[in-house]
């Protein structure tokens, strides 16, 4: 097993600043002390092998809780900090965690004695992430300590993260991409500035300059925001690395940012990954990007990619143990055996660079966040007691409804309140009858690509 970035041994060996926020910062040595003392709290409560719900905010307390759980063998499900109460309750009823961390500091912890597990969770289970954090999907990804550490090390290797780096992480830590920024930098002894800011916030560029940030990371929409706010004309001497993942960035933008990086002596990494592979699967080496626009690149160190029946298949030590859909599933061992059928259709060119050509799985990505179409459909049907058909492709959700008068039924409002989906992403189509296939199933192909 490679180095465990949360361990006493590792954190103790590092110097300098670990985590920075708008309000405070903490050194590696202090972080290690705080994690140790919080680990003690968890151990005194005798919680080893139990399940915890952990809302992840962009602050130091969340990082301490997360690292202490890993050390104390408490298995946390990382939740989006803005997850709606009703979605949180659904998850709570389904998984009945023994521990609920609140969001009001380190002492905000609730232990439900009746939910303590008689049999502790399997030893190799370390962490749970939702396949679609924003819909509070009950479908979870089960990750091991080895998954976390090997992926962090591989990322650190191909991004060449050194101890002097300072990453600006504006992605949520409950999201595998955001978490991977944290993990890989802790693994390298580098610093991470945690923040909820976007390039549309007035302070964003001041932080970039003032804090001498050396790397930024974001989903495709983040790069559209940077472009729109004049990023390419700004002088940012300390910035060395930009990474992009969480969906396909348009070729036009890749070209612009690639040219910008080349002329400014910076590196722009286009990457691909899935929560099912802890985070990262492949990347395009920046010096090849100009010739490989549209590609998801080559596998990360330690992994391999192949095409099987047109489907992209990844193998590596960062492939999850398996999914969980109900509590009992948490006790299943390693189902995947390091092999992941990605659900993405792909091809490979003569240089070994991979390309995604389509998707088998039923989900859509909106501004980088993944939404299960079946969950949205079920949510709508439940709320409005009517039949819906939810289809879509990247950046657009198409909802076929038989309800008369979409506006008065509040479909947009429901999607905003329940799932934080902005109406810009949503197109509601009124139909007399939902399209059906010959064997009586909803026919999603009608709206595909529209």
């Amino acid at each position: 097993m490679s180095k465990l970035f949360w361990s006493e041994e590792h954190l103790k060996s590092l110097t300098g600043t670990a985590i920075i926020t708008d309000k405070s910062s903490v050194s590696y040595s202090d972080l290690n002390d705080m994690v140790r003392s919080y680990q003690g709290v968890l151990e005194n409560l005798n919680l080893k092998g139990n399940l915890a719900f952990l809302p992840m905010q962009s602050n130091i307390e969340s990082v301490i809780k997360y690292l202490a759980c890993l050390r104390a063998s408490v298995v946390p499900l990382l939740l989006a900090s803005d997850l709606s109460e009703s979605l949180k309750c659904n998850l709570y009823d389904l998984y009945t965690p023994a521990i609920s961390f609140g969001s009001k500091g380190l002492n905000d912890i609730e232990v439900n004695e009746t939910s303590r597990l008689k049999d502790r969770l399997p030893r190799d289970l370390a962490l749970l992430l939702s396949t679609s954090g924003s819909t509070g999907s009950p479908k979870l990804v089960r990750l091991s300590a080895n998954n976390l550490s090997t992926n962090a090390v591989a990322i650190s290797e191909f991004l060449e993260i050194g101890p002097d780096e300072k990453a600006f992480c504006t992605l949520p830590l409950s999201y595998s991409y955001g978490l991977s920024v944290l993990n890989s930098h802790l693994s390298s002894g580098a610093s991470v500035y945690l923040s909820d800011q976007t390039p549309f916030n007035e302070g964003y560029f001041d932080t970039l300059v003032g804090e001498k940030i050396s790397s930024i990371s974001g989903v495709p929409f983040f790069y559209q925001m940077l472009f729109r706010t004049g990023f390419l004309d700004k002088d940012l001497p300390s910035l060395k690395v930009m990474t992009q993942a969480g969906g396909k960035l348009g070729d036009k933008y890749v070209q612009k940012f690639s040219q910008y990086a080349a002329s400014e002596g910076k590196k722009f990494f286009v990457m691909y990954g899935q929560t099912e592979a802890t985070a990262r699967i492949s990347y395009v080496p920046p010096n090849t990007l100009d010739d490989k626009i549209g590609s998801i690149g080559i596998p990360i160190p330690g992994g391999t990619l192949s095409i099987c029946d047109h489907e992209l298949v990844y193998e590596g030590p960062n492939v999850m143990l398996g999914y969980a859909q109900v509590k009992q599933d948490l006790f299943m061992g390693d189902i995947q055996r390091q092999v992941l059928r990605t659900g993405d259709l792909g091809t490979v060119d003569g240089d070994g660079f991979y390309y995604i050509t389509g998707r088998i799985k039923r989900f859509v990505k909106l501004a980088g966040s993944r939404f299960g179409l079946d969950e949205l459909e079920a949510g709508l049907e439940d709320r409005f007691s009517s039949s819906f058909l939810v289809a879509g492709k990247d950046e657009k959700l198409i909802i076929a409804s038989t309800l008369p008068g979409i506006e008065e039924y509040g479909i947009y409002e429901f999607l905003q309140n329940q799932f934080s989906i902005n109406r810009t992403f949503v197109k509601v189509v009124s139909v007399d009858n939902l399209p059906m296939t010959a064997n009586g199933k909803k026919d999603y192909s009608v709206f595909r690509g529209s």
Binding site: R228, G230, N417, T424
Partner: protein, 80 residues
């Protein structure tokens, strides 16, 4: 007149009712006005008034009041 047109774009892009769009309404102050809505707001205002909003103004346009001021600035430039 201009104010009503700006308000209309806000209502459309944020998916909110008229009473929500006051001078005090700021970026991030309601869940509907997130970064995604902000992008569509910028495009919406450009389309509505046939203007090109410059990069600095994209960030400065952080309240309904500022939106009116910025749109007004562009409209005056056109008239000059």
């Amino acid at each position: 007149m201009m104010e009503e047109r700006v308000r209309g774009v806000f209502m459309e892009c944020l998916g909110v009712t008229r009473d929500v769009v006051t001078d005090q309404l700021e970026y991030g102050s309601i869940p509907q006005w997130d970064s995604v809505a902000h992008m569509s707001l910028i495009v919406g205002l450009e389309d509505e008034f046939d203007i090109m909003i410059e990069t600095d103004d994209v960030i400065d346009l952080s309240s309904f009041e500022m939106a009116k001021e910025i749109v007004n600035k562009y409209l005056q430039e056109i008239n000059e």
